[in-house]
Amino acid sequence: MAKSTESPMVEINAVSKSFGDVRAVDGVDAVIREGEFFSLLGPSGCGKTTLLRLISGFEHPDDGHIVIAGQNMDQVEPNHRPTNLVFQSYAIFPHLNVEENVAYGLKRNGVSKDEIAEQVNEMLTLVDLSGYNKRPAYALSGGQRQRVALARALIMKPKVLLLDEPLSALDRKLREQMQIELRGLQRTVGITFILVTHDQEEALTMSDRIAVMFDGNIAQLATPQELYSRPKTRRIASFIGVMNFVEGTLRKVTAKTLEVEAGPFGKVTMAPDQMPAPLEPGAVTVGIRPEMLTVLFSAKEKAEIEVTGVITNTAYFGDMTYYSVQIDGIDEDVTVSMRNTAGRRVLAVGEETRIGLGRESLIILS
């Protein structure tokens, strides 16, 4: 089992790329470590696919350099890079069968026939397609095509495997299964994976680290946990999961505490790490996740901070119930998620309730 190390595998140094007037990638800096599962996450048109194509060599940067495994890639064509790409459309060669597709990259390396056959079988076993050697490309399902595309890329033993939205063509159930399989596969082979996706859930479940991209820039590069619990900006916070926002004022910043006027939550003292991006005193946005808010069902239940509100909508999901709650002093209804434990009732629309929270669950955003 491979673990990501601190040694850099892909270094992206001040890379820019424009198409006509559009700056698709705008001075991006990032270091992707050896053996890690790295995701480029962002909405469509944020430049994530362009960045992937720059790493694979299908596009050349206007400015900046890309270094892979210590080697500058400025003059290196895609066929000589230590990277392999799994295309969004999978790009399975339609006139070749599974075996010929997988062996395609090996044939020119002077590898013997027996050796090729052995490696192909090994790869097909790895992606759970053993026995499909002679199956023609057109007779494969979406999930099987993807496995062939993976095997075809991995057989090249690349230093970096690039995946361009590899799961977006699959239906939900298969996608969730493939997420787990891909993660397991990455651990088995120990190769650095760089995944491009617009699906935040996919990025969170699979990655060691995620770079969130907006408008050709990396907005935040962090681990999934950090990204979810400590997003730097309001935009990142609303892109990843659900976040409630309260307009507030940052009163005082000291080395040990932050004093914030957080609308209906009142004056709150917080720890410095609750402000991921350093801000000056003034108007700020205070964020809180739905699961950090609690409906206080009985008078006996107490919380550090309490507010009252009226239920405007309920959405029952079986294991969870999502409430929309109107609270005085907050423009938009606040979302509260509650686990449906035994004996806990589901509140009706129009009911008045107390909502509780702890001050350590608040985040200050720019």
């Binding site: 066929n79 459309s89 339609p94 090249m156």
Partner: protein
């Protein structure tokens, strides 16, 4: 309401009769045991077909025609591959006008093409032979080749080419191992259709042929001798059958190429759902 379809049926019926009845005369008189092309029919004979075999000028003209058609089909397809690939894959200045000029012979009157080529060739002091006919035929076959091949190249998923490069193949290997096999049905279709066009072509061949007559020019020259007419009918019948076979085969491969492309496109659409 019922009247309209009936009028339409009659119109289609008449249309088909005018279009194909003259062609039907070919097999009828090709097998008729009389030197005069007129009804009533006399009897069944294969003499006209057998007689063809002893016409040496005919044999020579068939050989010329086959040479012209094969070389013109190969040249026009090769040039068509280059033009279509360039147009489908790359952007270059003047792409649209260049492609339009290549397609122009499709609408230019052949007689104009024939006469102008003749004038130029004579001015250059080139002697007329099969090669000048080939030159003219490549010119008029090219638009057909390009039309067929361009759709074959355009329908190919560009990611396939990138995937090949990504797996370590260079551009040459990618062209021969991935691109060429995928556009092969288009290439075969282009070869067959160019061959058929060249084999039947008369006007340009008539101007540029010199002493190396092609088959259509030979047939035209035979029309002056009434006694040769049944033989011409027999010959025409053979050519009709041959053309039908070639065009059907060409169409089969063109459709196959379109089908191969369409399965790929559906897949890509799936992938684009995001």
């Amino acid at each position: 309401m019922r009247g309209a379809p009936r009028t339409f049926t009659i119109f289609v019926g008449l249309y088909l009769v005018f279009l194909y009845a003259p062609v039907l005369l070919l097999p009828i008189f090709a097998f008729n045991d009389s030197a005069i092309i007129a009804f009533p029919l006399r009897g069944f004979t294969l003499d006209w077909f057998i007689g063809l075999a002893s016409e040496t000028t005919l044999i020579v003209s068939v050989q010329n025609s086959l040479l012209v058609a094969i070389v013109a089909a190969v040249l026009s397809t090769c040039l068509g591959v280059l033009a279509s690939r360039a147009s489908a894959r790359f952007d270059y200045p003047g792409k649209k006008p260049i492609m339009s000029f290549l397609m122009l012979p499709l609408v230019l009157p052949e007689i104009i093409v024939g006469v102008s080529l003749l004038i130029v060739l004579v001015q250059l002091g080139v002697s007329l032979n099969v090669w000048t006919v080939i030159l003219g035929h490549v010119l008029i076959c090219m638009p057909f080749s390009i039309a067929i091949l361009l759709s074959a190249f355009n329908n190919m998923d560009r990611n396939l080419e990138e995937a090949s490069l990504d797996l370590g193949a260079n551009r040459r290997e990618t062209f021969f191992k991935i691109i060429l096999p995928l556009v092969m049905p288009g290439i075969i279709s282009s070869l067959l259709i160019s061959f058929t066009i060249s084999l039947d072509e008369f006007i340009i061949a008539f101007f540029l042929t010199g002493t190396d007559t092609t088959l259509p020019v030979y047939i035209w020259s035979q029309l002056r001798f009434p006694s040769k007419l049944p033989g011409v009918m027999a010959l025409g019948f053979i050519m009709l059958i041959l053309s039908l076979i070639l065009l059907t085969a060409g169409e089969y491969f063109r459709k196959k190429s379109a089908r191969l492309a369409s399965t790929e496109t559906t897949l890509n659409k799936d992938a684009d759902h995001g």
